[in-house]
């Protein structure tokens, strides 16, 4: 499968995530769109890993494992991020009884 298909697909998923972050106001949905963007990057990393594996196959090398391990570490960091981020959102809901990000403008005043 040509690598350009994967690049276009990842760009499309990433842009949909960007549009979601820019247009929605619910903090949880914004958070989910961030996860979507992370997954777009993960997909592209795996595709590039297989591309370099394909290129190194002629030399008999084992290349491309780095890309897939990076994806593994991205998943690790994303899981930690989600646990802390959702705790912050729960705390925010407990204090202002809303998850609307427009109410979070107190640093402005």
């Amino acid at each position: 499968m040509p690598i350009i298909y994967y690049i276009i697909l990842s760009i499309a998923l990433f842009s949909i995530g960007i549009v979601g972050v820019l247009t929605r106001r619910n903090a949880i949905i914004i958070f989910m769109c961030v996860e979507l963007m992370l997954n777009a990057v993960n997909l592209l990393l795996v595709a590039f890993s297989k591309m370099h594996y394909n290129a190194a196959l002629k030399d008999g090398l084992v290349a491309g494992a780095d890309g897939q391990l990076f994806v593994f570490f991205i998943m690790v960091v994303a899981a930690a991020e989600v646990s802390v981020g959702l705790a912050i959102i729960v705390m925010m809901y407990r204090n202002i009884h809303s998850v609307d990000v427009n109410f979070l403008n107190r640093l402005k005043h």
């Binding site: 276009i8 842009s15 949909i16 989910m32 394909n54 391990l69």
Partner: protein, 166 residues
């Protein structure tokens, strides 16, 4: 069209449609369910690329653990009714135009590069199997692996401290 191309097209359509529904659903619970569908489609892409370990980890960690955490929080807050008021139409349009411009710029930047010959190895290649990745993970990447366990511990402590009633 070979079977691989058909599978690629179907998974791509499912992923993009799911992602669109995530950002257009009014009800947050439907958003979570569509996002789970998108993650399954991305896992299908991983299987197509023969990255089996990452496909399983993606389903277990993302679709299993993280999305259940999202659903749990949404139901805990009783947000499953359509509470989001309609915001300024112009701001929404500006967001869509901004994201579309980003996509346009990224695709236009790809126009002149010469990557026609670069093929992602679909269907075979044993680099994504558990044996090879595990060997690499516990030799070359053993220090980041151990550091990530400390990260998890600190995230766990942080979540407990933040969520605690004071």
């Amino acid at each position: 069209m070979s079977i691989t191309e058909i599978l690629f097209a179907v998974l791509t359509v499912v992923a993009l449609f799911g992602a669109m529904m995530v950002i257009t659903s009014r009800n947050p619970i439907y958003s979570v369910l569509w996002l789970i569908l998108t993650f399954f489609a991305i896992s299908g892409h991983y299987i197509l690329l023969n990255a089996q370990f990452l496909a399983i980890v993606n389903i277990i960690v993302y679709a299993g653990a993280i999305m259940v955490l999202f659903l749990f929080v949404i139901m805990l807050m009783n947000l499953n009714k359509e509470t989001e008021p309609s915001r300024n139409r112009w701001l929404k349009m500006a967001g869509v135009i901004g994201g579309g411009c980003l996509m346009l710029v990224l695709v236009a930047a790809l126009r002149d590069i010469d990557i026609k010959d670069n093929i992602a190895n679909v269907g075979h290649g044993d680099i994504g199997l558990l044996k090879n990745l595990g060997k690499e993970l516990f030799t070359t990447y053993v220090v980041p692996f151990e550091i990530s366990s400390i990260l998890f511990l600190s995230a766990m402590v942080g979540a407990v401290v933040i969520g605690k009633k004071n």
